[in-house]
Amino acid sequence: MTKKLREALVTSPSFIWLTLFFAIPSLIVLAFTFHGHTANGGVGEWSLSTWRELVDPDYPVIVWKTIRISAEVTAWCILLALPCAYAIARMKTKWRAIVAGAIMLPFWTNFVVRVFAWKTMLHPDGWLQHCYFAFLQFRAWCFEWLPPSVRGFCVWSGLASPTPPDPASSTILDSETAVVLVSVYTLLPFAIMPLYTAAEKFDFSLMEAARDLGAKSFYAFRKVFIPGIRQGLVSAFLMVFIPAIGSYVIPQMLGGTNCVLIGNKIFMRAIQNRNIPHASALATLMAVSVFLPLGCALWWRRHQAARDKREVEVRAARLMLGGTK
């Protein structure tokens, strides 16, 4: 058996499977975006009408909302995960494995069942509802103090609601807050794990050095620890942001009609409205908003590696020059 033939033989099972059931279907989706749709739920002639219809005021709002909510979820996850990763990395080796395992353990319960448990907890009679309403009132009170132009921007971007909270209509179930809360809950381990692996490799004597030189704890954390684990930060960002963009179940079960994201719209168009070209176009948009940050992160990583290499070379050159002097 020649080498080439053996390689082809070992490669072919997975290669053929993934081509058939991953690559070709993705291309079909892309092809469908260049078709119109017919009234009876079929796919029409080749045309650009689908892309033109995407300007429909509905879609840009949904895309923006998805990106905003994903950004919120990512920010919360990283904020909560940073001190956790720091705390775990400072533990003794035996404890680290136990705590890391304990963080993953809840995620062996079925995902849908966990979301259902949240649904039960967020019930309008529950105590979380009271906390939520108090939070809304507090937030409205905070926004009172802002200058009108900033307040206007917050209302426009969806960060604040223009009217004061009303006890009858502001339930936490079927609200954006519920979606953000439960998304943070499900994605938090994916932020903790990469940050923790980066923190584990971090040399904590650097922080002690910073403290010896007079830095306060938080200053050392911000100026030494955070830059030291930036690779982990980028991984954590990707691990949370990408699934958040693609989330479908959580807004479906907890967001009601107030929180329809791209994922829900794709499902609606594909299954309920039988408008396959529109579903395909939205799916393409989603893929773009996933691959864009990923591409940026990969470029940044390569750029960083190149810079580090250059720095080493410059230093080496300096050393050599110093040596010849």
Partner: protein
């Protein structure tokens, strides 16, 4: 070693946040009233714990029969998907590890991209494939979909294991006159088995957990456990039964992982020797 009080407190709070729903799932498996989902009566009196949901599940009562059927379907699909994706994943990892050609870089792209693709995109593209080729959705389409996303995870797990695999062992086998088939089945495969088991466990949990992709390709009337649960409403009477089932599953998974940890930790000294 210096510990920061703030970060330890945050870790404690985050752990509480992660565990509250799990404890709730466990507790609501014992709820006496399945409609109000409350441990208290209308007059605020504590009603105590009830084991009736466990009874319903173990006796296979007709009211939980659709639930049990969906659960059984999930188990069958997860088992088959694990089996197929382990075979495909092993060959893929071996090919990616052994050869560094142009073909393999395309192959790597094919294996890697499903990992970053959101589930919903995999789901819709498969649905369109099945619609375009006129395949009726049901058991087989769910299985195909699950294998497709599991292969990548199995391959990546194995590829990580293969990095500290000593390739000289294979060369030694060839030098001693073993053929490629004998080398693969008697030397490579047994050495890779812990990695394959780890990948298979991952595939099984992913398959049994998946709801998004399945809800695109399941067709009418075929429900796995997750899609059945997600189609339930708040007021379906069987919610505590669902909680009981997932508590049992969690215990089962813990036991399985504990056993596999025990087995692999027993293997390690022998491998080093």
């Amino acid at each position: 070693m210096r510990r920061s009080f703030f970060s330890m407190t945050m870790l404690g709070l985050v752990m509480a946040f992660l565990y509250v729903p799990v404890i709730l799932i466990f507790a609501y498996g014992f709820v006496p009233n399945g409609v109000s989902m409350s441990f208290f009566g209308h007059d605020g009196r504590f009603l105590g714990f009830s084991g009736k949901w466990f009874g319903l599940i173990f006796s296979g009562h007709y009211s939980v029969r659709p639930l049990l059927q969906s659960f059984w379907l999930s188990l069958r699909i997860a088992g088959l998907a694990t089996l197929v994706s382990c075979v495909l994943g092993t060959t893929a990892a071996l090919a990616l590890h052994k050869w560094k050609s142009r073909l393999q870089s395309i192959h790597y792209g094919l294996v890697y991209t499903p990992l970053i693709m959101p589930d919903i995109l995999i789901g819709i593209s498969l649905l369109m494939l099945f619609v375009a080729s006129g395949i009726e959705c049901g058991f087989w389409t769910i299985l195909i979909a699950h294998v497709t996303f599991c292969v990548s995870y199995v391959t990546m797990t194995l590829l990580a294991r293969l990095q500290d695999f000593d390739d000289r062992i294979i060369e030694a086998a060839y030098d001693l006159g073993a053929g490629p088939w004998y080398t693969f089945f008697r030397i490579e495969l047994p050495l890779l088995l812990p990695g394959i088991v780890a990948g298979g466990l991952l595939a099984f949990t992913l398959s049994i957990d998946d709801v998004v992709i399945t809800s695109f390709v399941n067709g009418a009337g075929t429900n796995t456990f997750p899609t059945y649960v997600s189609s339930m409403t708040k007021h379906s009477r069987n919610l505590p039964a669902v909680f009981v089932l997932s508590t049992l599953m969690l215990l089962f998974t813990c036991a399985l992982v504990g056993v596999s940890k025990f087995l692999t930790s027993n293997h390690e000294p022998r491998r080093k020797a």
